[in-house]
Every structure is written in C-alpha cells, then in structure tokens.
C-alpha cells in the first residue's frame, strides 16, 4: 500500500560528472545514483532487478582505436548485447539506453574505407532496436539524432575527455539528461489529449470576418503554404487520437464557410470535435469544452497567435498548457510535430478510434440534454457492457487505462505493462477489463478492476477505474454489480474500497455517495491497519449480502 522508492542507476561508458546540476531533475522520478566509472558492461550485469537502469554509451569507448573493425570489436558488441539481454530478462524495471556513435573522420575515409565499422555499428543499433520492440520496458535514446540537431562538435568535448574522461560538453550533458527526463516523464505521465486552436491568423492567415473568404491566406505558395502545412500537422495529431477543438472570437458562420468552401483547408469540419465560436472570453469557452468532453483542463493544450489571448488563458486556466508559439508561422508545422505534450511511445487501436468516440460523447451529451427522462433515454440507447479477462491483446490497453484515467479512478495507482503482467501472475489478484458499446459507438475497453482476494471473506479493490468519456450511462453501477457477483461466487462477504483523494477524482468520490457503500473508519489489510485520513483517504465497504441492482435488464 505504501509507495516504494524508485531507484535509478545511471551508468556511463565515459564519466558523466555526477553532481552536475543537469542530473538534479531526476530526483522527481526517484533516488538516483551513479555507477562507478569504468567497465560499463560489468555494470549492466551487476544492476539490481528493482532499479531503473540508465546506460549512456559512446561507441568510441567500446571499439579499438587502432583497427576499428576487427574480430575483437565484434566480440565486444556481442558481449554488450548478451549482458543487456540478461538484464532485460531479469528485470521488469525500466532500462534506457542513450547511444552516441559519432566517429570523427574525414569525408574521404568515411566514403570507402571506414564504412566497415559503420556497418558494424548499424548492425549493433539494429539489434538494440529489435530489443526495444521485444521488451516493453526497454527504450532507446538516439543521441546521434539529438546531437545532430545542435551539432556534434557542440555536444562532445575533447578537453573534458582528456581532463576528466567525460566525452560531453555541458550542452551535451544537458541534452542527454533532458532526453532521458522526457522518456521517464512520459513513462510515468500521459500525453495531453486536447488541442484547442484559434482560427484567424492561426489556421489561416488574415481575419475572415474582415477580409472575407477569398481574402484569407491558405495553401498555394509562400506563407499560405505554411498555414496548410500547420493544418497537416494538426490533422496527423487528430488521426492519432488527439481531440481537436476550436475557440475563436468570430461569427460562427464565417468560420464554417472557410471549412466548407475553401478547397485548401486540410482540416475538415468532421475533424473538429468541439467548437466554441462566439465573442466570449476564450478561457470561458475552454472551461465549457472541458466540461462537455469530461476531460480535465490539465489535458488541454492551447495554441493561439495572439499573446494577449494566450496570457488571459494562462491566468484563468492555469492547468492548461499554453504554447508560447514561435513568432514566424513557417516554424509552426515542425514546432507542432516535435511538441512534447502530444508525443507518445505507442499509438494504440483505442487512440485511432478516439476521435469518433469523443464525437459520439458530444452527440450523447446533446441527446441526453434533449430527453426529459434520463432512464427512458438510457433504455433507448442499448448500452451493452461486458467484462473481459486480461489477455495478451489487451495488456497494453490495461496499462494505458491506469496511466491515463484520473477522474473516475479510486486510487490512481499507475501500472506499466510489466506491472500488469506481474500482477496477473499473482493468483490472489484478478483483473477484468470493461468493454462497452451503445447505439453511438463501440468504445472498446474503457474500465478496469483489480480485485485482490484478501482471505476467504474479504476482497479489496486494488484498482477500480472507468474512462470519463462514457460516464452518464450508469455503467459504473453495472460494473460494481458484476464485481459483487464475482465476489459472491467466491463466497466473499465484504468488499473494501479505498478512495485516495486526488485533486482530480471528485467523480469517483461522488459515486461513493450511493447507498450501497458504507463508510468505515479502518480495515485490516493483510495485518496492516488501513485508516481513514481526513482530506487524504476514505475507506468504504460493500456488504455483499445486502447489495442489489434494479436496472440490470437495461444492459442486456
């Protein structure tokens, strides 16, 4: 129940200057320590199972300086790969390899004679990438790619090498630590979900209300092309599951005229999941969008060319990530492509479906508001939930649900894929996923429970969560009734639920107001007393024998 310390071991093939301020940012991910400099491969062997391992490897530290490509080099490469494999087989913890393979030779020798070693290095890189595909907890930071953006000569430092056996300049060390920080941060935190855009001078050049449909700049050559390319980058994000919304001070019809009539528009009206086109303040509109989509403001990113509008959103919606957009529009497409907020390790099947699902959510909310009787409305829309056992095909989604769900999540306990696999091995922990469809959409797997069987009489909900985009259908009640049914079959008498209060799980807290839950002061969790703590946690109990659920037929 208590959060154990995450240990991070950082090992370099050259000296990494422990104590340098560039590493201090790692403290937010756990306790970090540096492997003693020297014998890089040995450190991989000695790394502990329960430590996150970060390897910073410069290929120059591995190969012979006189004859670059020889059988010895091959042996060293094979030895390294074999040790890495052992580590990955032994440890479920995160392993990150930051790799730099720069060789400083003349263009002439690299054109014919030297490529032999480059071939060896490419083969080695290929093996590393194959390992990263095989092991979900292994990640590669390609320092060649990162350093090339800033220039190798700026990132490597011969003086530091001869003075302290550190191959990198301060700039190089900063780039390494920032790249590693980005990987760690994304491993533990989800990407942003919604991109809110302005229209005039953002999606196109000019003000449509003043210059008219034909007066705006979009497509063709010059700056108009930059706006088109920016829209292409937005469209790519939309296809990958980012929700695109508009917040524009405009006459609504003028904006939709551009969408419908301008043939250079890359974005189409169907790509826009929610639009607030009016003369209200943008921060008010953003709050409304957040409510309608049931997504917290901290999953929002706002992009507007106007610094005053950006400032207002920053002040009034401090959770929204307001992008300090580059001054020149021609820099926008690439800037958006490399924006960290939306970058993810994987794009899952669920991500591809997300756009349609949020559209369905908007339609659901609007239809629900039109119907006087909520119960009759819910009966009409043929809600079909079902529980699924964990299997190979849904492990990734299970982990993603624990990582992404905040609002209807009782303990906000995050599970990596390897954590899920390990939990499943524990016979006392049973994992179910909740799948849902109705007349609006097939939402896929949108909920998850981990039931921990404590003894013959009691069970504890280690995890109980549902994606907020399907709330409002009373499926949460059906879900808990299925959990109770499962426990009843196991002769369980009481189910304990712990609510760890976060700043975002008010929805979960509200659900516990239902009479099926009774708040208790404490319970015995495998010999440890778990107590209520004001403003931090609440404990609830379901008496299985007294539980009833009246509207079950509605979901069949």
């Amino acid at each position: 129940m208590t959060k154990s310390t995450n240990y991070i071991r950082i090992v370099g093939s050259s000296f990494l200057l422990p104590g340098n301020q560039c590493w201090s940012k790692f403290s937010k991910f756990g306790k970090y320590l540096f492997g003693e400099y020297g014998n890089f491969t040995n450190h991989i062997v000695k790394s502990k199972k329960n430590e996150t391992l970060i390897l910073v490897l410069s290929i120059s530290d591995l190969i012979s300086k006189i004859n670059f490509s020889n059988s010895n080099t091959n042996l060293i490469f094979q030895g390294l790969v074999s040790q890495l494999r052992k580590r990955l087989n032994n440890s479920q913890k995160l392993t990150i390899l930051a790799l730099e393979t720069f060789l400083d030779f003349s263009v002439v020798s690299m054109s014919k004679y030297r490529p032999k070693i480059n071939l060896e290095i490419s083969k080695l890189k290929k093996v590393f990438y194959q390992l990263s595909l095989k092991y979900s907890n292994f990640f590669i930071v390609d320092l060649d790619y990162e350093f090339s953006k800033h220039g190798f000569y700026n990132c490597l430092d011969q003086r530091n090498w001869y003075f302290a056996h550190c191959r990198y300049s301060l700039q190089g060390l900063n780039l390494i630590s920032n790249s590693l920080k980005d990987i760690l941060h994304r491993y533990y935190n989800t990407a942003s979900k919604v991109l809110v855009l302005d229209c005039d001078n953002t999606l196109w050049g000019g003000v449509v209300g003043e210059e008219g449909l034909s007066g705006i700049s979009l497509g063709e050559d010059g700056i108009g092309q930059a706006y088109s390319d920016f829209q292409t980058s937005i469209k790519r994000l939309s296809n990958e599951g980012v929700i695109i919304a508009l917040s524009s001070k405009n006459n609504e019809q003028d904006v939709w005229n551009v969408f419908n009539k301008n043939t250079n528009m890359v974005l189409k009206k169907k790509d826009i999941i929610n639009a607030k086109i009016n003369w209200e303040e943008k921060f008010i509109n953003i709050k409304k969008i957040s409510k309608e989509l049931s997504l917290g403001l901290n999953s929002f990113v706002f992009w507007d060319d106007n610094p005053i509008e950006r400032q207002k959103v920053m002040i009034n919606c401090p959770d929204v990530d307001v992008i300090d957009v580059p001054k020149n529009v021609y820099e926008w497409p690439n800037y958006l492509n490399r924006l960290y907020n939306f970058s993810k390790f994987y794009i899952t099947e669920e991500d591809y479906k997300k756009k349609d699902q949020y559209k369905a959510r908007s339609k659901f909310v609007s239809d629900q508001n039109k119907n006087r009787s909520n119960l009759n409305f819910l009966k009409k829309i043929k809600i079909r939930p079902k529980l699924l056992k964990l299997n190979k095909s849904n492990i990734k989604r299970a982990s993603q649900l624990t990582m992404k769900t905040n609002q209807f999540n009782f303990r906000t306990k995050r599970y990596s894929e390897t954590d899920i696999i390990n939990t499943e091995k524990n016979k006392k922990k049973i994992i179910y996923l909740l799948h849902l469809k109705d007349i609006y959409a097939d939402y896929g797997n949108i909920g998850m429970v981990i039931i921990e069987l404590m003894d013959n009489n009691t069970a504890f909900l280690d995890t109980f969560l549902m994606s907020c985009r399907i709330l409002g259908r009373n499926v949460e009640k059906w879900f808990i009734s299925e959990i109770v049914k499962f426990c009843k079959n196991k002769k369980i008498k009481n189910i304990y639920i712990e609510l760890i209060i976060s700043c975002r799980n008010q929805v979960a807290k509200n659900f516990l107001n239902d009479s099926i839950f009774s708040e208790i002061k404490s319970f015995d969790f495998n010999g440890k007393l778990i107590k209520n703590k004001i403003n931090k946690k609440k404990i609830f109990k379901i008496d299985v024998s007294k539980f009833s659920f009246n509207n079950k037929k509605m979901y069949e």
């Binding site: 200057l17 104590g19 340098n20 301020q21 003086r159 001869y162 003075f163 302290a164 301060l170």
Partner: protein
C-alpha cells in the same frame, strides 16, 4: 568589475548551496561542503556557461581557489 565579483559569489553560493560566506576571496577548494575535485569541475563548467568563456585544460587543473578563478575571469 565589482558586478563580476558579485556574480561569481552569487553563482558560487547557489552552486554549493551556502550563505553568509566570510572571506570569500580567500576560499580554496576543500573549504566548503561539496567543493571537492568533482565539485570544482562542475563549478568551472557552470562559470563557463554563465560568463560564456572557455577555460583551457591547464586552467581546469590549476583553478582551485576563488582568487585564482577571479584572476582569470576578470582578465577575460
């Protein structure tokens, strides 16, 4: 010149997390917690970054006192 002096002191205090240093100009490596050879190297790199200068490899090995550092920085 005094602004450069102040800047060195501020960077030093922030870097080694110390306050109220007496006789700052007479300080040498080893007299402040964390100012060992590795701390010294990281501190010199910080000074390079802040003053946009580059020490030679000889200076990197020789500069182990505030007086020595000031001499080089103020000259540059």
């Amino acid at each position: 010149m005094s602004s450069k002096n102040d800047m060195i002191k501020n960077i030093f205090c922030k870097f080694f997390k110390t306050k109220n240093i007496k006789n700052f100009d007479k300080l040498k490596m080893g007299q402040v917690k964390g100012w060992d050879s590795l701390g010294n190297l990281n501190f010199l790199l910080k000074l390079e970054e802040k003053f946009k200068i580059r020490f030679s490899i000889e200076q990197m090995s020789e500069l182990k006192s505030i007086q020595g550092i000031k001499k080089v920085l103020i000259k540059k």
